[in-house]
Amino acid sequence: MTFVRPARRVLIAAASMSALFVAAACGGGGGGGAPAGGGSSAAAADFTKQGDTEFWAGKDTSGNTQNLIDQFNAQHPNGKVTFHELPDNADQQRQQMVQNAQIKNAKMGVVSMDVVWTAEFAAKGIVEAMPPDVSTAGMLKPTVDAATYFNKLYGLPSTSDGGLLYYRKDLLDKYGLKPPTTFDEMKAACDKITAGEKDSKLGCFAGQYNKYEGLTVNFDEAVHGAGGVIVGDDGKPNVATPEATKGLSTLVDWFKDGHIPKAAITWQEENGRTAFQHGELIFHRNWGYVYNHAASDKDSTIKGKFDVAPLPGITGPGVSSLGGHTFAIAKYAENKGTALDFLKYVSSPEAQKSNTLATSNSPVLESLYSDPDLIKKFPFMPIQLKSIQTAKPRPKAVEYGDVTLAIQDAAYGALQGQTQPDAALQALQAKLQTLIK
């Protein structure tokens, strides 16, 4: 009897404790019901107040962000900037910025926005529209467009990015081939090379097809490269078209016949880069950062054997999805004057150049793409410029998270062979019509 009661109590307590933690854990996330504060009734922001503020951005892997902040602080006595380093993961960065806007964190001064967050951050009043005297002269047009929402500029572009086609120059030269401009040419080149090399490990082509933001990027490029659109010029979704179907079904076919390795359905940027560096791919779609790795990493087996070309198209010219970041001023920042000064400072040609040299992120100032120092270190700069100039943005939407998930649902199902491409796109069109109005 004395044993019975405690045993039962332990059971009940254990049961209840676990149950409670569920609710309590979610209360933390859901409890913050403070209004996000829309901007519709906001008074004009004060961009003169000087004082200490913080710069919020992802992990500083090169160490150059701190350098730039130190240089700025040395010449700006009225207010210092400190670096608030966020995780490497973009979703976590976004979440922290959204949450700190909800609690109206006055210290969050300048935030580094991914290009796809502009609509959400602007509409939900997380960032402030730029004052009229801020100039975007000399900046690449797609990057400025990406920072614009409802004809208002919400930040200054800081870095840009476009997709590139990495290819094995040694193999193409060996078989007398030129870098392909279309998927058909690429397939023909692959067939010729694999027939000659007889290397079962050598795959043809891969991009990023795991179910994450990279799939949205690659799907958009396939659709645009086939002459289709996701969202038309009128701002209405228009993805259930023969062109878009052609784009998606090309990727599906390439998966089916093995020109894209089966494993690529689980690949993100790093998996593909590793495969390319280990000589397992002839062609690879990736961002600019791969160049340095493939050229100088210890485990790279293709040093000096690869080169970069513009992305191939499916029926038309290749079109990249636009990447990159925009620096914006948080709506609830207390010292917006210092924040604005910092923003202007990091947009200067000198800061842009030092950042590109240190991080290999592409600059947003067009003039830097012909800078001799940069071209010496990154010989693909002119190709990158063309990629960015012709790049198309991913759909602009306040609920971008829902839009990108809808795109990923459609593309992933089709690539896995669970749905037909045209059916997948019709479902996507219906879904996008409810999300983008």
Partner: protein
């Protein structure tokens, strides 16, 4: 109450009339002291558990305003009271996705994933955990090493083991090399489900093993000796002696694991990734909704999960727990005296213990 305030300094009564004091515990002059001593604990529980739970319930009756102003493009912000709409929306089926069980609402897909992952994982973990405990209980050379080795997985944080298994289950990872074939574990396929099961079993079977070992060590050796004298086989000893005697400890361990697995988040999210409907659990779904600023629905899903966990826990206590106390004596006495509490009172007791047991 009047007596309590009127005679705060009255001397504590002697043990002679202790019976009387039990009936009127608040007025014996110690009630206030008890409250004072308990206050810090109660306040901490209220702050870290009570308030978040209440806020979570409150949040689940609200929705964030999401309408976009067509001229400025801005969202009004704030939230509005919607009553039970977040809960009724679960049954509206407005968000169909295709997972392992055909096309259905994302909530129910996550609900089924959660349920099936829990059933499969806990079954495997129990079998393997008991086996581990039997091994750990034996006296042999290097027993300390084996015990420590078995417990290593339990000591690794789940999110770390999720990333570790992600490498193992990579398309060119160790698992595929051992199997000699290319299984796409991380591609939101049927294999993803088993990847989760394997990783979870690996990590938490030692937990069941540990608690079972504690139970094993309370079984006196004489029982086995007597069984041997009577000519019982090893299997008979296991089924007739070990299992019944270790059951109280094992039931607690299994209950813990069940409730924990129902809340699984790290493994699917860290290893397979978000938006993979074949392994999306309720916790992951609620998290995803919250990260889309839909706090109301997210809170509603979390509360449904909370009730689900509570229900499972209740069933455990009723079905398995009843056997723990399952000697006829107790039952008879209760029936005679008519002390058996009505069902509602029992539920209340569980709820009450929820707050008491949390910390």
């Amino acid at each position: 109450m009047a007596t309590a305030t009127a005679e705060p300094r009255s001397l504590p009564a002697t043990g002679a009339d202790g019976h009387k004091h039990k009936k009127n515990a608040l007025s014996d002059g110690q009630g206030r002291l008890a409250w004072i001593l308990l206050a810090p604990t109660l306040i901490i529980i209220a702050v870290v558990a009570g308030i978040p739970v209440i806020l979570s319930f409150w949040e689940s009756f609200h929705q964030t305003n999401s309408g976009v102003d067509p001229t400025t493009g801005l969202v009004a912000g704030g939230s509005k009271f919607v009553g039970l709409q977040n809960f009724t929306d679960i049954f509206a089926g407005a968000n169909p996705v295709t997972g392992s069980y055909g096309t259905m609402d994302r909530f129910w897909n996550a609900f089924l994933n959660t349920t099936f992952i829990t059933i499969v994982c806990v079954l495997l973990e129990t079998v393997i955990g008991v086996a581990m405990a039997l091994i750990m209980a034996k006296a042999f050379r290097g027993r300390g090493l084996v015990r420590a080795g078995i417990l290593v997985p339990w000591a690794i944080p789940t999110i770390v083991s999720a990333l570790m298994w992600k490498l193992i289950f990579d398309s060119s990872g160790i698992m595929n090399r051992i199997l000699g074939r290319e299984i796409l574990w991380l591609a939101d396929s049927g294999a993803s489900f088993w990847a989760i099961v394997i990783a979870d079993t690996w990590k938490t079977a030692p937990f069941i093993g540990l608690l079972t070992l504690a139970g094993l060590q309370t079984i006196p050796a004489e029982v086995y000796e007597a069984a041997k004298v009577d000519g019982a086989t090893t299997w008979q000893q296991f089924v007739r002696i070990t299992l019944p005697m270790v059951k109280p400890a094992l039931v607690v361990a299994v209950l813990f694991r069940t409730l924990d697995t129902l809340r699984m988040f790290d493994l699917p999210y860290g290893m397979i990734g978000a938006g993979k409907y074949r392994v999306e659990t309720l916790s992951v779904f609620a998290y995803q909704e919250a990260s889309q600023s839909r706090y109301g629905p997210a809170a509603a899903y979390a509360i449904v999960l909370f009730l689900y966990v509570l229900l499972v826990a209740f069933l455990f206590v009723r079905v398995l727990g009843a056997e723990v106390i399952g000697d006829a004596d107790v039952q008879k006495k209760k029936k005679k005296k008519g002390e058996r509490p009505p069902e509602e009172a029992r539920v209340e007791a569980v709820m009450g213990e929820a707050i008491g047991g949390a910390h």
